[in-house]
């Protein structure tokens, strides 16, 4: 009896061992089963939609995930604090692309090359070339040309998730009623705005609140109109004719658009369009999913999508988020598996089914029949400009303190624009000087 029991126990232990080694070979997730990942990401439509996919990841892999949702502008402080501790709370962070330079500069992120050299972690079917290049370069690559652009000196730190570019959305019914053609150039857009304004219809909605919101609104127009914030040698050129033209265009937007733009953040600008108080929208592609959401939109079925109009060149924004791994995470491998899962082909398709935005070209193509904006986005992506704003560590100060103030003056007063931008240019030069950008000159 005793030996029978002993043999039985041995057999059970042997079976358990076989089972465990067997699944270790079968599943790359097995070694990390029971691990709990803490993920920091924003509370917005795309990331909120991702929750069922996160749960599916836990079910399939046994890796638990706790998500810490925060309003997107509050993420940076919290993430910086956690990532700069010897042991932080986060294993995965989603950053707004403009923070990537700062995070890497401070040594807070894990280079993904550490993971891609571990064959046990990398899914051979992942196909990173299928991830839209503009998104990958803009969200994930740091240290290339000028520090934030693609280039041979760059390294990969994150994978885009909830990334975006800008497209034009317009009210088909109003355009038809007013006999307006969909604008493809800035001249046509300007003409459409005037026609709508003359008819008493608020034209283009826009962000406009002091600080980074009004700066973003100006930058949307700056790239296509041929302007830049800096020249090749880091000299500020926000007083160039193109920059002044973009500022003048923004003043026209405020004059002909819905009432209240100087106080609008992104959410207010979107709401004005979704509630039927503006005929045109030119901002993140996230408008498409939101316009179909009956709880937010009064204009479902009346919205058309088109490319961001061209000025002297085509150039839409590149923004949104990317996922990466803090350097002080204790679960880097499991974190990588999570990121890989969320952005895999199946994950990307699932995100589309859940109402999120894809990052893969194949997903855009496969779903082009379901969503009218997907073919527009696929056509827009080659024009997405990774240099539409300089993602340098000083950008926040330039953005909030200098440009954000100057452009508020542009849109809330009738003062001549050139002197305002001249003044901003000098202030930017002083900050760049202070930060040591001209020591090589």
């Amino acid at each position: 009896m005793k030996s029978l029991l002993k043999n039985g126990l041995l057999a059970a232990a042997g079976m358990a061992l076989v089972a465990s080694t067997g699944s270790a070979v079968a599943s790359p997730y097995k070694p990390y089963e029971g691990t709990t990942l803490v993920v920091s990401w924003p509370s917005n439509a795309h990331f909120n939609a991702a929750q069922p996919l996160v749960e599916q990841f836990t079910e399939e892999t046994g890796i638990e995930v706790e998500v810490d949702y925060l309003q997107y502008l509050k993420l940076r402080d919290r993430q910086l604090l956690e990532m700069s501790k010897p042991t932080g709370e986060y294993d995965v962070v989603a950053w707004v692309v403009m923070w990537k330079g700062e995070y890497v500069n401070k040594g807070l992120l894990t280079p993904l090359s550490e993971m891609y050299t571990n064959a046990g972690l990398v899914d051979p079917d992942y196909d990173i070339n299928d991830v839209a290049d503009a998104y990958l370069q803009n969200g994930g690559v740091v240290g290339g040309e000028r520090g934030y652009l693609p280039g041979k000196s760059g390294g990969l730190y994150g994978i885009p998730f909830g990334a975006e570019t800008s497209i034009l959305a317009y009210r088909k019914d109003i355009f038809e009623e007013q006999g307006i053609e969909v604008p493809t150039t800035y001249d046509e857009l300007r003409a459409a705005m005037e026609t709508l304004h003359a008819a008493g219809i608020p034209a283009l909605t826009s962000r406009g609140a002091t600080g980074h919101q009004v700066t973003a609104a100006w930058l949307f127009h700056l790239a296509p109109l041929g302007g830049r914030v800096f020249d090749e040698k880091w000299n500020p050129v926000v007083n160039s004719p193109e920059s002044v033209e973009a500022a003048a265009f923004l003043r026209d937007v405020v004059r002909t658009g819905p009432v209240g733009i100087p106080a609008f953040g992104f959410g207010d600008a979107v709401t004005a369009f979704l509630q039927g108080d503006a005929a045109i929208y030119l901002d993140s592609l996230k408008i498409a999913a939101m316009s179909r959401d009956p709880s937010r939109s009064k204009i479902d079925g009346k919205v058309g999508f088109a490319l961001h109009p061209e000025g002297t060149r085509c150039g839409s924004e590149t923004g949104g988020f990317a996922l990466g791994i803090p350097d002080n995470s204790k679960n880097k491998e499991a974190a990588f598996l999570f990121i890989q899962y969320m952005t895999s082909k199946a994950g990307d398709q699932k995100m589309v089914d859940l109402g999120g935005d894809p990052v893969r070209i194949s997903t855009l193509q496969n779903n082009a029949d379901r969503f009218p904006e997907y073919s527009v986005v696929a056509d827009q992506l080659p024009c997405a400009d990774p240099d539409w704003r300089p993602l340098i560590p000083e950008w926040n100060e330039l953005n909030v303190d200098v440009l954000g103030q100057a452009l508020t003056r542009v849109i809330t007063t009738d003062d001549p624009i050139q002197p305002i931008m001249d003044d901003a240019n000098e202030k930017i030069r002083a900050i760049m000087e202070r930060e040591g950008y001209y020591v090589w000159n």
Partner: protein, 310 residues
């Protein structure tokens, strides 16, 4: 039973120690510890940080020492003086109007009129609302597109929609109005408490002496609650310099810097542009300004001194 025994034992030991010598220190020790930990430490840290160029995400010990650079930069920074001016203007308007309205309302509702308790409760309601909620409520009320204020101005007076929070003058008015809405009740409850604690004999005596309503208020009641008025004034003054949440939610300090109070400017410096050392230097300026103003008010009329005179 046991308690009595213990009590007796304690009592038995009592004569051997000097109770009068140590007990005052024991009573004030917790307060001193809280003061040092909760008040002095942050202030000292603010001074300390203002000499370093520190950003979140780097070790504090790696931050470069910059001596008095931040203070020199602050003195030459027109933005700091601009927001200090905005803060002083804001403080002047809100404190003047709140004090006047609060005292007037307290005098009106002091008498036991019918429904006074209902009015009093309604008046102090804004005080119970969290500042973030106050910011959100008024942000939507003042919203140019969907706000009630624009709606009723249009419906009743035919006024075109005003961009309340997007125009420098209107936005300043909006934050002053909101602050008055929220904080007048504070003055009101403090003053009404003071008025009700006044000895009825004095009021009766002034009645007998033939003082009219105005004389009674100006020559008897208000002078008698003078120290309470000063305390209320001081608390509001400090609040104005600390105020941040409502403006952050309503306007974010904009348009331009028209509603950016000093504390919001410090917040933006510290967390938007990551210049924690410089933000600390401006915090030191804030402490100095508040300290100076408080000292001036206390010099004019120190309620604690008055009390000790009595």
């Amino acid at each position: 039973m046991t308690a009595t025994t213990a009590g007796e034992t304690t009592l038995g030991k009592k004569p051997r120690i000097e109770p009068g010598l140590l007990s005052p220190y024991m009573f004030i020790t917790p307060a001193v510890l809280i003061m040092v930990g909760g008040l002095l430490y942050p202030v000292v840290m603010a001074f300390y940080l203002s000499f370093y160029d520190w950003e979140i995400g780097r070790e504090l010990q790696d931050a470069p020492f910059v001596s008095f650079d931040h203070f020199v930069r602050m003195i030459n920074d027109p933005q700091v003086w601009e927001v200090l001016w905005v803060t002083l203007r804001f403080g002047f308007w809100v404190i003047t109007i709140e004090m006047t309205l609060g005292i007037a309302l307290a005098l009106l509702l002091e008498k036991p009129i019918r429904g006074a308790s209902v009015f009093r409760t309604i008046f102090i309601l804004p005080l119970m609302v969290s500042p973030v909620v106050v910011g959100l409520i008024w942000r939507y009320l003042f919203d140019a597109r969907i706000g009630w204020i624009n709606y009723y101005l249009g419906a009743w007076f035919g006024i075109e929609p005003l961009v309340w929070l997007g125009d420098p003058q209107l936005a300043f008015f909006a934050i002053v109005f909101t602050d008055i809405w929220q904080w007048t009740p504070f003055i009101f409850i403090i003053i009404i408490a003071g008025l009700q604690a006044l000895p009825s004999e004095v009021i009766e005596a002034s009645d007998i002496d033939g003082a009219n309503w105005w004389q009674q208020i100006l020559l008897v009641k208000l002078p008698m609650i003078r120290s309470i008025i000063i305390i209320a004034l001081l608390m509001r003054l400090i609040d104005v310099f600390r105020g941040l949440e409502v403006m952050l939610i309503m306007t974010g300090g904009g348009p331009g810097r028209s509603t950016e109070l000093l504390s919001l400017h410090i917040y933006n410096r510290a967390f938007e542009t990551q210049q924690l050392g410089y933000a600390s230097a401006i915090s030191v300026l804030l402490i100095v300004v508040v300290f100076g103003l408080s000292l001036a008010i206390l010099n004019m009329a120190n309620p604690m001194k008055t009390r000790s005179d009595v």
